[in-house]
């Protein structure tokens, strides 16, 4: 297991929740805040193991709920369902493709708020949601879709900068060295 990658994912999740709560620019401009955790979950489920997916769902969900009026723990399950669903099919997904990242980000970001609202309605703590939610949902889905490839580039850059590179075997062999000159 790549511990560095897992730690980086959790660290970015923490920063993402912080930015969602403290930066208001997108909310002012578009009337809705973009959720960065589904995009991060798409990256984690295509690049990391089940441990990282579970840790991200629990840690990210708890951080998100702690700054929100959501009941504590309501965001864990939607995030995990998205991550686990992608993880089960990841052999069939071309993770390096920009379009695949975009579509997965769109689906994940659209699904996460719907699942969260479904859970809220099951627990009978449904907020007052009207037509404005359709607009918010569109902003969240499209914003998440755009941010997913950004997430992949960010982590590729971080891994490139921080992780050890794999040693490449050269074709040089001592026993086949041609020695020139006279002895």
């Amino acid at each position: 297991m790549n511990w560095l990658n897992s730690i980086l994912v959790l660290l970015v999740a923490f920063i993402a929740v912080f930015l969602e709560a403290s930066v208001d620019t997108i909310r002012h401009l578009l009337g809705a805040q973009i959720d960065l955790l589904p995009a991060l979950m798409v990256y984690a489920s295509l690049s990391s193991g089940l441990f990282t997916i579970t840790a991200l769902a629990v840690f990210g969900g708890l951080c998100f709920d702690s700054l929100s009026a959501n009941p504590l723990g309501i965001s864990i399950l939607p995030l995990f369902v998205i991550g686990y669903g992608i993880y089960l099919r990841r052999e069939l997904i071309l993770r390096e493709q920009f379009f695949a990242q975009l579509v997965l980000g769109l689906i994940a970001s659209a699904l996460a708020p719907v699942l969260a609202l479904l859970l809220l309605s099951i627990t009978r703590q449904m907020p007052s949601v009207g037509l404005e939610f359709i607009w918010q949902w569109l902003v969240m889905a499209l914003g998440g879709a755009v941010l997913t490839p950004v997430c992949f580039r960010l982590f590729d850059g971080l891994n490139h900068a921080l992780a050890y590179r794999p040693a490449v075997e050269t074709s040089f062999r001592l026993d086949r060295q041609i020695k020139r000159g006279r002895k």
């Binding site: 089940l50 997916i53 629990v58 995990f80 907020p127 009207g130």
Partner: protein, 270 residues
Amino acid sequence: MLKRPHYIALGLVGLLTLVFLNLPHHAANQIKLAIGSLFIPGFGVSKSTKQLLGNAGDALTTRTELLRQNEQYRQVNQELQIRAMQADALQRENDQLRQLLGLQKQFPWRLRVASVISRDPANWWHSLQIDAGSRDGVRPDMPVMTSAGLVGRIAEVGLTSSRVVLIGSPECKVAAWVEKTGDNGVITPTSSPGDKLDNTLVILSYLSSNSSLKPGERVKTSGEGNIFPKGILIGQTVEDSYRADLGYNEARVKLAADLGALEELWVVMR
């Protein structure tokens, strides 16, 4: 067929979700506040950065502009001092009259300023966090306002921060009255799909069926319910309509405070 780690992950997530969702309200709040406190240094840095940027902007203001503003504030200050003297005199007169009538004495509001440190990251809740908590004397259900009007009430209190539910959300119903006509009602979230897109509108419900409100009438807190003191401005009526299905009138009210651009708030201490 799933492998063992899959069962462990599924079981763990299911168990944690069940445990957290079934925690007693107080315990869940304590955990929320503990996790939320991890973000407080970050919010402090964010606030300082905004202040630094604001100061950098101030440095670009010309001396002439500053002198002009200073003069303007001096005039406003003098006007407010005169109004404060008038208000003091009226307060004394009011106290004497209440004493004569045997009514309970009214105490002036004690206000504490607080800054908004974060907004709810979930789009479906209308709440925000402020940088004042139990350490500063803040308690649940204290009203929160700006100089423009009512903003909401304190819902949860931590040591150094509190969560404010904004007016217009289902968690923040306010007993209100129309200043001119004296009609009483309750401020509730708007139910009209069109109005839902505009977060500056709320509904003044449960007005008597024979009330007739004109646009532009000031709506204030009525003081009933003992949460919001009487007289805080809520907004102005836009139009009224009769709900024949429910048997009462209701009016759309445009909020006086701009809930989308809140930075500094006042907590009404009691």
